[in-house]
Symmetry: C2
Subunit: 326 residues, 2 copies
């Protein structure tokens, strides 16, 4: 996610942003939209280092900036892509352009956290989303579905889904909630649905398998049961269970990285959430908390150890609370 603004004599003269993978870069769009004479001597603000590499769909941005005689470039983040990684800045400086970098660096890092993480760690950025009551429950009664939060929180979850490459849930959540995991409350694209189901407890008739989905199960899964999924729009991945009989999250991450899935929103349930928390596999934890005490019901986590998190932001979301933690 990159935006560019060209400023001259204290006035914005052009803007651009990167609309889709393979499309024109933000800097190129901003330069193309402006009158060539106006740009000469202007300042270009851009949250990511302009690219200089040529092994891709679009031409590099640095020659364009140099050719249009832009005087100064202000950047938030150096591109961690090894093909750029400071070389874009180097080219600009060699052409006599003043470059100021690391301006609002943290905000820029947060904006492009999926991309930066993928380049750095070669695994998807994992956000765990929990909707819980004030007393840490995800259902009012054991084994029943509960709409924990209100409509504003629901809308926010749909916004999240549209931002992530994939949404992940476990077999229990499929069986109890039977969710569609589609984007309905806002306009946006549907994410890939990933279902973790080591024992193959789900049914291919569940709503989630009506759309593009990825079923991750064990190599020992029942072949007859698997056949039903093969008739659906479901890609099946068979993994070896670990010593405790569970599918290893590290192996799942490797599979997802191979498929270029850069971001996963984990929507539950308690087993998967607890595994991810316990193994410190999350990059972000979003808790949507309703101001209600349930008393009975299933706890959001089934952990036996203490895990310390750090609050990044808090907000009210309708009648509920949104807590973002890292």
């Amino acid at each position: 996610m990159v935006g560019a603004v060209i400023v001259k004599d204290g006035k914005i003269i052009s803007e651009g942003w990167h609309k889709k993978y393979g499309g024109p870069h933000a800097e190129a769009e901003a330069i193309t939209k402006a009158k060539p004479g106006d740009i000469r001597g202007a300042t270009l603000y851009c949250n990511l280092e302009p690219c200089c590499h040529t092994n891709k769909q679009t031409p590099p941005c640095t020659p364009l900036i140099i050719r249009h005689k832009i005087k100064r470039v202000v950047i938030s983040n150096i591109d961690p892509n090894p093909g750029v990684s400071g070389q874009g800045i180097e080219q600009l400086k060699n052409a006599g352009i003043e470059v100021i970098s690391r301006v609002h660096e943290q905000e820029g890092e947060f904006l492009n956290r999926f991309y930066f993480n993928f380049i750095k760690n070669n695994r998807p950025y994992i956000t765990l989303k929990i909707a819980q009551s004030l007393d840490g429950k995800i259902t009012k009664e054991m084994g029943t579905q509960t709409s924990v939060t209100g409509k504003e929180a629901k809308r926010f979850v749909h916004q999240l889904r549209a931002q992530y490459d994939a949404v992940m849930i476990g077999a229990n959540t499929v069986n109890i909630d039977n969710p569609a995991l589609t984007v309905r409350e806002i306009k946006g694209r549907n994410p890939l649905k990933i279902i973790i189901d080591g024992d193959l407890d789900t049914s291919a008739e569940a709503v989630v398998f009506n759309d593009k989905s990825l079923l991750i199960t064990s190599k020992n899964a029942d072949k007859n049961k698997l056949a039903a999924f093969k008739e659906k729009k479901t890609q099946i991945i068979l993994l070896s269970p670990d010593n405790s009989g569970k599918i290893s999250f590290n192996e799942i991450n490797n599979i997802l990285a191979e498929q270029k899935i850069t971001s996963v929103l984990v929507e539950g349930g308690a087993d998967i959430a607890s595994q991810i928390i316990s193994k410190q596999l999350y990059d972000e934890l979003i808790v949507l908390q309703s101001p209600e005490i349930y008393g009975r019901g299933l706890s959001a986590f089934n952990l036996t150890e203490n895990i310390k998190l750090k609050i990044k932001s808090i907000d009210k979301l309708g009648e509920d609370l949104k807590i973002i933690m890292q």
Copy 2:
């Protein structure tokens, strides 16, 4: 809690506030501090209706306002005290003074919620304070003391204690935490300590009984055990247990109202918190929530019913979260 500001020609010319029970009222202080000639034709802003009743330690404020020829009086709240209750405003209007009332009425009501509640309901305002982990636990392990929140939250609790007439805890909290319940982190007066101990499970040697305290126990309590408390600075109240063997909170409220205790901060534990929540006896619920998952440990509430609350405000308090609910 009353403040008064006198304004003339868009400038503040005098201010006053009510410093203690029996001391000069805010309006009187503001008028006394200003030069008499300056006040003529000025506007007096005051969060509570000026008093007109004479059966008290200080003279009424309305004659003073009238005598100094103040032109306009702007008020947040009408005094619910039956001796005033609109009659103060009436006297001002009869003297030709313009009166505008109910300005920032809700803020004024919140500021004086202890007093307004006491006048209206003849029982103390009850605030329940819970310090819990993200997963709703108040201890890391069963039966052990846990410092759930950080130093900023601790300081805030001491601020609360200094604001309330009394702090209340149950026998389990005395036995497990052995708290002093004094104000140490800030400068402020110590509240009365109220200990609810139906079965007389606490020891008179507990720290809390070293200071002014009120022990509420059952009429059936062991007389020998009680003798030890009588040697301390402890007032003992004996009540009849209800059908379930517990002391009724309504009866406790009546006793506290007789003693002119207008506000009680309940600091736990789970049993008392759950009783108060379940019987809807709280006026305010303050949850200090640490971004930590405990897994094991004691839950903040032991309820079997759903209780819906309403978030009034949220704030970060150091690394923790402060949620005020009603």
